[in-house]
């Protein structure tokens, strides 16, 4: 009846191999989409012209720019090459293979993208991880509290409060928080970043705002999950046994509701490295979010392409982790 641990692990690893193999066609698809977006809508010539400044651009400087960045090959099919080279001597093949080895190459301004990414993912993580953990702590506690008072005025007014908080733009929380805490009360600096322990005073505000901004949506979402569990039969049985309401909530509802919650959170974990574009732009955090924004503003195609690929890899990684988490927290599910 029960699977032995070794057998379970074996099936997990064979499942993982399958999932990782399945990720390849998807990533090739992602690359194909970005390629269509980047090179078919605008030819490499167009990009060179924009980059070099539209006026006084000679054919020579364009072809120079292209060969420096490896854009001087055909896009998808090299008709004048022979044999396998029809497909391998192309920009698409070249860039895709490089991306799969996580060799992001140089940005259009000449910096090493892989180095920049490895430098800038930690500041992003310093904000997004505490936001996730603290947010989870607060939203779960509030949701459980509301579920305890379900059907009363406390419940309905809390839901109205949640919906109102959800309806406020995230920009409002950021601007309001900066104004209130940094300008009026002068508790923390408005924006900036520092290395090591000194960075804490810069991190407090973005983390606080991230937690408060997600409160409305999170609380309401977890309340729905809790209420769904509360309507289940096993809860009725637990109550019939004479368990107190608190006991029912902590012992049964919370533990069972944690299955969708934990798996949902696990899916987010890898993407934490990407950070938030808006938060990092507002607070001047040198993370991957502001890296992307800088790349957009300086029209750096190589960086944007690398970020799209990285984002997809992390997303797929999240999906795989979710499936693994399912088997770990819910023994009914086998891979």
């Amino acid at each position: 009846m029960f699977i032995s641990p070794e057998k379970g692990l074996g099936s997990v690893s064979s499942y993982l191999t399958r999932r990782i193999l399945y990720a390849f066609p998807i990533l090739i698809g992602v690359n194909f989409i970005t390629f269509v977006l980047f090179f078919v809508v605008n030819s490499p010539d167009d990009m060179a012209r924009v980059h070099l400044g539209n006026r006084y651009v000679t054919e020579d400087s364009i072809s120079n720019w292209k060969s420096e960045r490896g854009y001087d090959k055909p896009l998808f099919i090299a008709l004048d090459s022979a044999g396998k080279k029809v497909f391998t001597e192309t920009i698409f093949f070249d860039k895709t293979v490089r991306l799969f080895t996580f060799d992001f190459g140089q940005s259009d301004s000449g910096r090493d993208i892989s180095y920049d990414i490895s430098e800038r993912m930690w500041p992003s993580l310093l904000i997004s991880l505490p936001v996730l953990c603290l947010g989870l702590l607060f939203t779960l506690s509030f949701a459980l509290l509301i579920a305890f008072f379900r059907g009363t005025y406390i419940d309905s007014s809390a839901v109205i409060l949640c919906v109102s908080m959800m309806s406020i733009s995230g920009l409002f929380y950021i601007i309001g928080g900066q104004y209130l805490l940094s300008k009026l009360l002068q508790i923390v600096p408005i924006s900036g970043f520092d290395d090591g322990i000194a960075s804490i005073k810069f991190l407090i505000l973005p983390i606080l705002i991230g937690v408060v901004g997600g409160l409305g949506h999170g609380t309401r979402w977890y309340r729905t999950i809790f209420l769904e569990e509360i309507h289940r039969d096993y809860v009725r049985t637990a109550r019939a046994k004479g368990l107190s309401e608190k006991g029912v909530l902590y012992q049964h509802v919370l533990r069972n509701a944690l299955i969708p919650i934990v798996t949902g959170v696990v899916a987010l974990l890898p993407s934490l490295f990407l950070g938030s574009l808006i938060t990092e732009a507002f607070f001047g955090i040198p993370g991957l979010g502001s890296y992307t924004i800088d790349a957009i503003q300086s029209q750096d195609f190589a960086i944007v392409r690398a970020m799209v690929f990285l984002g997809s890899v992390l997303y797929i990684l999240g999906l795989i982790l979710t499936d693994v988490a399912y088997t770990l927290v819910d023994p009914r599910i086998r891979l």
């Binding site: 970005t34 977006l37 539209n54 406020i168 733009s169 970020m307 997809s312 797929i316």
Partner: protein, 466 residues
Amino acid sequence: MELVILKTDALFFILIASLLAYIFYASKKEHLARPWRTVLKKPMAASALTILAFYLMVAILDSIHFHPEIEGSSSDTLVYSSQVVSLLDEVLKPINKNTETTYSAPFAIYSYAKESRESETGQIIRDYPRLMHAGSHLSDTSEVRSDLIMRSLGALGYWVFAMAILCLILISLRVVKLKSMVSDWQNLGTFFRPSPAQAAAITFAVVCLLISLIATVGPYYHILGTDKVGNDVLFQGVKGIRTGLLIGTLTTLIMLPFAIVLGVAAGYFRGWVDDAIQYLYTTLSSIPGVLLIAAAALMLEVFMTNNAGDFESVTARADLRFLCLCLILGVTAWTGLCRYLRAETLKLKESNYIEASRAFGVLSWSTISQHVLPNLMHIVMISIVLDFSGLVLAEAALTYIDIGVDPSMESWGNMINGARLELAREPVVWWSLFTAFLFMFILVLAANVFADSVRDAFDPRIRELD
């Protein structure tokens, strides 16, 4: 005047026409009309719908664009301005025309910044100049308060008059009965626990009061102040309504056909069709939405720089960029709906009536259109209303990081973007941000409340729980 139909205008009118067609169709079919009646049974939802209707009306007015005639042209043939204005601009002309030189606070009659001017004695003094269009009809500046009160009272008078006329019309058309109206309002308790119709009526009356206040006070004061270049902030807030509503609705309209066709095809035909479609939406959904939008915005920027000559006007250019934003937002949004539709179609295909239909040899096409599609519509409906508010909020955020709408377009995102540094001034310039957030908050709140009610009414799972 010479009509101009922008691309987004055309799509918006198609959307409204299909909305009207749906309402007409649904009112004839009991199984469609019943959940909608449940939606409107909640006072909050009725009130939210009223507010949404007002927003929609403003957006419609703002979607009728034309080239105005140039006044005073001597020749017999009419000369049209190259500028594109909307009907809303014409309606709000008294507010719109009153441009100052720089910031001014709400209801202020003096400018925000000091300017040098010559006094009567010939000395140069630095002082706050009077605003050109706010309170300029007053000779004595101490009269502002009394003038404001008088005008507000006037607005109240107009409002009472208009409401009375409306009530008389409704009573004479026998839509409502005077007797039941009086008895309904007699106990004060109904005010705090109104019926849906009463909630809608209260909301309608409040919005009408606001409109009447704007109409009487607006031309003489800047109710919500002016921005950096002296434009009326209230006017900008109202203009942002079209952008907000359109981004929430056009995005869904664009993605809907793809999501429905592909989702149903994947679930119904299975096999390689299913594999291909699953591959497509897994690939698309694995690109983080904001990065895909960023990439698309960047490429559009390059395309527009290289083909700058193809656009008639700034408005047409901004319009194309707006459409592309809707398109790319739609691409990131349709995968979720497609996945739901596929799963639901798989479930439906196992049901007895679909099996019977196939056993009788009914064509796949007719089975899908007759039996599958009608049973998927509740999912489509829920997804449309749930996505709306998120899209409105996304517009502001994306515009802030320069991958949203064109800077020349009136939108709340652009207002916030332009005003975010103003809080650093002394005294604080808060009104631009306040206006943008207020207009956005009301729309998103109404949409959220309405969406909740729609989901409760259409989601069969929730109905079982009750």
